[in-house]
Amino acid sequence: MATGSDIGRGRGMTDTTSRPIDTSAAQGAISADLPRNPPQPALGLHRELSKVWANDRGLWGQITAVNHTTLGLRFMATAFVFFAIGGILSMLIRAQLATPQGAFLDTELYNQIFTMHGSIMMFLFAIPMLEGLGIWLLPKLLGTRDMAFPRLTALGYWCYLFGGLIMLTALLFGVAPHDGWFMYTPLSSAQHSPGINADVWLLGVTFVEISAIAAAVEITVTILRQRAPGMKLTEMPLFAWYMLGTSAMMLVGFPPLIAGSVLLELERAFDWPFFDPARGGDPLLWQHLFWLFGHPEVYIIFLPAAGAMSMIIPVMCRTTILGYGAIVAAVLGLVFLSFGLWVHHMFTVGIPHMALAFFSAASVLVAVPTAVQVFAWIGTMWKGHPQLHLPMYHILGFFLTFVMGGLTGVMLAIVPFNWQAHDTAFVTAHLHYVLIGGFVFPMMAAASYWMPLISGKQRVKGLGEAAFWVILLGFHGTFFIMHLTGLLGMPRRIDVYPDNPEWIWLNLTSSIFSFVLTIGFAMFALDMILQLLLGKRERRDPWSAPTLQWAMPLPTPSYNFASLPTARHLARDADSVILQLARGEGALAGAPRDRRELLVTSVGAAKPDHVAILPGNTALPLLLSASIGIFVLLMLAGLYGLAGAALAPVSILIWYWARGMTPQGDLRPVEIAPDLVLPVSHRATQSLGQTGLIAFLVANGTLFASLLFGLAFLSVVTPGPTPPPAEANTPATLFGIAVLSLSSVLATLISRRFSQQAAFAGALFNLVGLAAIVLLALTQMDNPTIHARDALRAAMAGYLALHLLTAAGMAAFTYVQFARSEINPTTGGAFPAWRAWQSYTVAVTLIALVVLIGQEVG
């Protein structure tokens, strides 16, 4: 009955569907399975692996940890703490609004509090929580031992923690951001928000977003390249599909926000007028960049939660998921569509009438893939036999809440209604229905479902169910009538309403229920804590689930699998493969070479490709993020010169980081199963690092595209004054441009040759290009403070300069590897990375020059 093809679709325990399960593909996979390794004593393997994979002892061990289980849990725990802080802030908001003349907070503080509530919930709770879930769960689900780039996981965590702490500290000192979580400028400009409040947001959030990009890169690579051999892309567990969609959206969605934040910070710090209408800038450019991120953000938050539900519902219903293919199609549709809707947050800014109709239609359309998923889940429940375990309660809470939030979302997509409801309590109600319904309820389901893997314990009966009911009551009591409050005209983000007695009973009711809601969340937290402290031991695979994460002891060991599952293990109850894997019968058993190893497979069919050697515990991520943190603090302090100098330690640490990837030690091929010998990563044709670099370049390309978008937007849409004529001296400018393009082309051509001299010449050419662009900027380009177009050109020049500098650094790095004879034609070291970066650099340089010249000529 159970076959290879239904992994991830849930095992057909009491499968009553008429739908036959296709066994042919699975049979094919099984016959092509890897040979079995001989069994070994499980305890010996456990000791051998633990020695290699475990964290160091004590506090130092926490500092140097790079393991995905440790970091995933830490991400989630930290996010939960931020949820609690954001929750306390929301209580302050509700206390203030309980009465019309709340004298409890003054307006300045109130503004800081709702801004911090929104920003914390979005950037420091929701995003890190889903990153943590992905980091913690994916390797277990896909049958591997860690994420692709363990040090990057740790770096992401520290950046998140430090960025979050900076923002919290600002709140303690009363200088927190106060312009709302979308930071509309000119309100957030230097003129209207003097002081560091807005800088705290721009720099803090950008610092935190390093972790989002890092997580997106490694989640993409892990899903594409680290699935158990035989786990085809088209058959992987749905959670992996959802996370793949999420990470793709993060790679494309976050760069516009980062671009916008950098530009706004440049405007605030150096008076480059990107958003100043008096000097050719445009406040709407900020809104476009923000919502180009902000709308996908909503789906970035929803998709992982939906992925968790697609895993949990079939297990709770003792059946397989209904409509696997339709769900995958819906996820892909959502990823695509969600980038075409951002304007629905801007229906009142005065955009042309056709654009309104287009974005309204697109926003309505995006409900279709969501509906497909919701109905597939309900269909799954129909064909199965839902059992009301605690996770199922939260899933029912999800259905009720999220459906209502989705419906109000569709209402808001209808332009005339949007004009009335926009920026009122109606929107506040809608967004909490979607975020709490579509994220918090599923996350509570996920917590109660996966907790045994974390704690190894059973929960204490009763409390969780009680918490659910209190939360459900508190939530709807708080937010349901807020729809009405909004329709009665109450705008969001106000602290007093002395002239509107008709809003009093509504707000008072919301405030009272919000305390019920908080009590509910406290009970939920208590339930988790009690389970950790007092729970009885849980047996393995407590839910009789089919996916791989249950095929390991509880709580999970640091290395996940003593031997890696292969096609034959995908087919089975977790229970029945657990022993085989623990005895080393899967691939790549134990850690005989005394280093962290895992199997890398091909993207589509998951054929074994090579063995990746992962770095061990190290404090480098902490050091690097701390040095970035120093840069951020110096920027906040307005010490821009020192901040520039602080980039030196950052670059040195990055150099050391890269040195850690140098091919060294035992580079002989590894026998992962009898007669199956694979090369190690340093000798692989397409290593994890190279796939990761491609993912990163996708994000980087989106950042560049955001700058181009800005340039086009300012010259086509913005009504402001035309820029003063260029002051450049044409022959000198043309000469500089010629040197710049020639040297970057030459650097790229030479990077095709694998030799020490080529690396040397490459570094040199890049430096010449860098010198050309710096001279152009200093002597030829117009003063960037005069007009927004010149400011954007200067920003573009800065972007290119940074890329040329990095390319020079990478060429120099490759040169050093040559000089030390660390690399050769079979072991390329940093060479392929330099080559890829160099190609990217020349591409953006030439595009930027063509656009610039086109703008001048046209």
Binding site: R318, G323, L407, I414
Partner: protein, 221 residues
Amino acid sequence: MRKRCIIVAAALLLTGCDGNLSTLTPAGPVASEIALLWWIMLAGSGAITILMIVLVSLSLGRPRATSVRFWTHGMGLAFSMVILTSLLAVGLWIGERILPRDDGAVAVQAHAWQWGWTFTHEGPDGVPVETDDMIHIPAVEPVDVLITSEDVIHAFWVPQLAGKMDAIPGRTNRARLQADEPGQYEGLCAEFCGIGHARMRFSVQAHATWPPDLTSDGAEE
């Protein structure tokens, strides 16, 4: 039209949905159209919510044979598409009817600043008249408000007369509103604009005769 408004208004009074900022007690055709749209959407959403609750409740029983396509294609695609496209059509149709158009409607200016409003309309002698915190418009006929901002982004909103429109520095936006009867209405700034945002209110005086004679202090009605 008028009858429906009265019925709706009566129903609302009973439920306490009153208030001079309520979008549910519209006082002009633009706001009425939108309120009607809201009631249609509320009814539809209520029905869909109940349908979903029923579907989920029914699933809680014993397992049953069910077809995949019914859920993914039937409900997921067809059902949702039908509902959504009809709603979109209604939305576009209503949107079309309330859109400002170039029909020579009276135009008045609204200029927002931190934190207050300056309004300008044409006086009886053709000279522009400036007023603070009270905007004057003609009643019964459509009016275009030309909205600008001095400093940051604000939004002009008179819930009983029409939807809101942002005041953005560097741009002029146009909002169309219409009051069924002469009288006073309330408005506010809807886009967060800093410390004074909550208090950035204004009033609307709709006049039976236009241009109005302000010397009699609005006592004409």
